[in-house]
């Protein structure tokens, strides 16, 4: 009974995904790109591979002509920490970061030609971390200075994900002004949300770097990252600690969170359930014999193999056959009744006009 109860409190996920979105463009929004890249770094460090991260950056700060240190994006002043590096894999870059693409990624309603790296291939045992940063307002988040996503749309997208069984549990973190308004409308189960500020409050940026000339990070994400630096894949830190990150004294805004849709108690939710990719390992002391099955499998395979001869490369493509192909035979023929009827009519018309006396000339 104790085991069963423990099972209930443990998350039932088998894989982790992260969708990290930076929605602002232009040089002065450097900090949003730095935010997102920092979270990306942490999430990678804790074990989620690039194939399971969908990184959307609306602008390219590293190669921006105004960047005095090209190919770098710093998250700490005095250029201590370069979060760009040479192994960043950006999946949606520049103008591809649109509301439509974001919602398509979430709901999976993606054109068939989309490459795998741009897809969120989650299933019903996936825990997904969704981090969004940019400029927002009461009920909306601005994308690239030209469009917005509303909290209702986001809530509906999550509901679509729930109905399609695209997540087991979802952690939504948003670092924008009035960020709490974005999670107000969620109504799907198993969603936990964190925001950097309440409705009516602005999220402030942390520190400008006089060498680069812009603010490098936002306060909330800065302190979240400080917190995440102490997490390692085996740590047992839970969500309640994350909720305490960045009190008003440090952040100036009041961070908020929402857990009413979440089934488990936040105390039992590990940080690594969302930020890391921790595999569950069950240690067993039984031995399983594979020899019997392997032998049967091998014999079946060898039977089939004997029949085919190894093909040379040139023979694999029957070029001679292809170039000398005759045009396809016509498969359709007009029905016999039609032909009969048509010619009968034509003959009738002919004899009606020219008289029946010509019949004996024909036959």
């Amino acid at each position: 009974f104790q085991d069963q109860a423990e099972q209930f409190f443990r998350s039932g996920h088998t894989n982790n995904w992260a969708v990290l979105v930076c929605t602002s463009r232009f040089w002065f929004n450097y900090r949003h790109v730095a935010n997102t890249l920092s979270v990306y770094r942490s999430v990678k460090r804790l074990g989620i591979p690039d194939s399971h991260i969908v990184l959307m950056l609306a602008d390219d700060m590293a190669c921006n002509p105004r960047n005095p240190k090209p190919a770098t994006v710093f998250s700490h002043k005095n250029m201590e920490l370069n979060v760009y590096g040479d192994d960043v894999e950006v999946d949606y870059r520049s103008y591809e970061v649109t509301v439509e693409n974001f919602l398509r990624v979430l709901t999976g309603r993606i054109p068939p030609s989309t490459p795998r790296s741009k897809r969120l291939l989650s299933d019903d045992r996936s825990n997904i971390l969704i981090y969004m940063t940019g400029h927002g307002g009461n009920g909306f988040l601005k994308f690239q200075d030209s469009e917005e996503i509303t909290n209702v749309e986001l809530a509906d997208a999550f509901e679509q994900m729930w109905q399609k069984r695209r997540y087991n549990e979802l952690l939504f973190i948003i670092d924008t002004c009035q960020g709490a308004s974005m999670y107000e409308r969620f109504y799907s189960p198993n969603i936990m949300a964190l925001a950097s500020s309440q409705v009516g409050e602005d999220s402030l940026s942390h520190q400008p770097d006089l060498g680069i000339g812009v603010h490098l990070m936002d306060r909330y994400t800065f302190y979240v990252l400080e917190f995440l630096e102490e997490i390692h894949p085996a740590s047992q830190t839970n969500m309640n600690d994350l909720f305490q990150v960045c009190p008003k004294s440090l952040c100036v805004s009041t961070p908020g969170h929402r857990t009413d849709l979440f089934q488990r108690d936040p105390q039992n939710v590990l940080i690594t359930d969302f930020f890391g990719s921790v595999r569950k390992v069950e240690i067993t002391t039984e031995t399983v014999s594979l020899d019997r099955d392997v032998a049967a499998f091998e014999s079946k395979f060898s039977e089939e193999e004997l029949a085919t001869e190894p093909l040379k490369y040139a023979e694999q493509l029957p070029v001679a056959q292809i170039i000398h192909q005759k045009p396809k035979q016509k498969d359709w023929h007009p029905p016999g009744g039609f032909i009969l009827g048509l010619w009968a009519l034509i003959i009738m018309v002919f004899f009606k006009t020219y008289g029946i006396k010509h019949m004996k000339h024909v036959f």
Partner: protein
């Protein structure tokens, strides 16, 4: 007269064969003035290919030909060029024979009216003589075969040539006086494209004239003959449509062909007036305006029948012109058909008022069509308004041409009965004015 006709036919066939072998064939085949969604050759090929794949060619909005065309080209698709050349030749020969017959009728009627003293004394110069009428059939065949519009239509393998040939056979049958054949060919022409329905009236009038039945609404023989002809026509139309059902065992072709012609869903630019209007129109008005535009084609039949009941062949000419101007997807092939008739009215030349300007307009517009198309589609420095302006001008030119001929015809008739030198009641010179 056979030898010159054979020469003309040979010349025409050579021109077409030469063009088929040249690189212009592909260029001409793509031109929207020559190939409309109704009669483009690549749509025929596409439809037959779909049929080979086991799909009905009428699924989707590609193929708008009638089942008889499917049947015809199913066996003849490899000889397509030959088929179209032969069709053109047949049309020309049919028109030749028809006009020969018509000339005889005209001449007989003229002689009758002279003997009955119906003509005024000083109209000797207006009366047609056999000498000048001798070469008219050859000129008609020439005008049809060597008209650049016809040549382009043939090289593009547009099935407009087949429509034209059916109409030409209908005209031949009407001229020969055979009501049965005329009804059959008219049914076939209506079945092909809907608009030759309006040629029912001139054909009826001509046949009535040949049977010497006066066109009076109270006359019983008039109604009897009309009923006979109408029933022949309708029966053959019904038979042909039912026969088409058995080709593919479905009625799909009716919305695809007739629904398409009437509701004009495809707004590819052509030389007609429909596309621009309906590209600009709001949805909830489009039904109303489609009806208005379609009625416009059929509308002129009754007034023209009343005015031209003594001259049904001219009526047929005007009606053909009206069809080719106002139909929903006109091409230059349709224009070529009624232009073939112009030599028949060459005696009206002295009464035509604007013939120079109109011929210039028509020629210039024909040259400007591809230029403005290139500017609009390829160079991007013009827009659809430019092309539409040329379309409008071309159609205005055609309409003015027809109305010019109409006026000239009526004027000649008036002069024939009232004399060339018109005087008012007080003896001063009068002038005939069209009000």
């Amino acid at each position: 007269m056979a030898a010159p006709l054979v020469l003309v036919v040979l010349a025409a066939v050579t021109v077409r064969a030469a063009l088929y072998r040249s690189s212009l064939a592909v260029f001409i085949a793509e031109r929207v003035e020559v190939a409309s969604p109704l009669n483009a050759w690549k749509r025929v090929v596409e439809g037959l290919a779909l049929l080979d794949l086991g799909v009905s060619p009428y699924s989707g909005a590609i193929f708008h030909e009638t089942p008889l065309i499917i049947y015809l080209f199913h066996f003849l698709i490899e000889y397509a060029e030959l088929v179209f050349m032969i069709t053109d030749v047949l049309t020309a020969v049919a028109l030749y024979l028809a006009i020969q017959d018509f000339n005889k009728v005209v001449f007989k009627k003229q002689k009758l009216l002279i003997e009955l003293d119906k003509y005024a004394p000083d109209v000797a110069e207006l009366i047609q003589t056999p000498m000048e009428m001798h070469y008219i059939p050859l000129k008609v065949a020439l005008f049809y075969l060597l008209n650049p519009y016809t040549v382009m239509s043939c090289v593009a393998k547009s099935t407009c040539a087949i429509n034209n040939s059916v109409i030409a056979f209908f005209i031949l049958a009407t001229m020969k006086g055979s009501a049965f054949l005329s009804a059959v060919f008219l049914a076939l022409a209506t079945y092909q494209s809907l608009y030759p329905l309006t040629l029912f009236a001139p054909a009826l009038l001509y046949l009535l004239q040949r049977q010497f039945i006066p066109v009076k609404l109270k006359s019983k023989s008039f109604w009897l003959y009309t009923m006979q002809y109408a029933s022949l026509y309708l029966c053959s139309l019904v038979v042909i449509i039912c026969l088409s059902f058995f080709l593919l065992n479905s009625w799909d072709f009716i919305p695809s062909v007739y629904g398409f012609i009437l509701s004009v869903p495809d707004l590819t630019p052509n030389i007609g007036l429909f596309w621009y209007f309906f590209a600009e129109m709001f949805e909830h008005f489009s039904l109303f305006f489609v009806c208005v535009f379609q009625i416009n084609v059929f509308f002129y039949t009754i007034p023209l029948a009343i005015k031209l009941k003594e001259h049904p062949v001219f009526f047929m000419f005007v009606q053909l012109a009206i069809i080719s101007i106002f139909k929903s997807y006109p091409t230059v092939g349709d224009v070529a058909l009624y232009m073939a008739f112009l030599p028949v009215w060459s005696h009206l030349y002295r009464f035509l008022r604007n013939i120079f300007i109109l011929s210039c307009v028509l020629i210039f517009c024909s040259f400007l069509f591809p230029v403005l198309w290139h500017l609009w589609i390829y160079a991007g420095s013009a827009n659809s308004n430019f092309y539409y302006a040329i379309t409008l001008t071309f159609n205005i030119g055609q309409i003015l041409l027809i109305s010019d001929y109409f006026y000239a015809f009526l004027r000649r008739e008036y002069y024939l009965t009232h004399g060339l030198h018109l005087t008012r009641q007080d003896g001063t010179e009068a002038m005939l004015v069209l009000k």
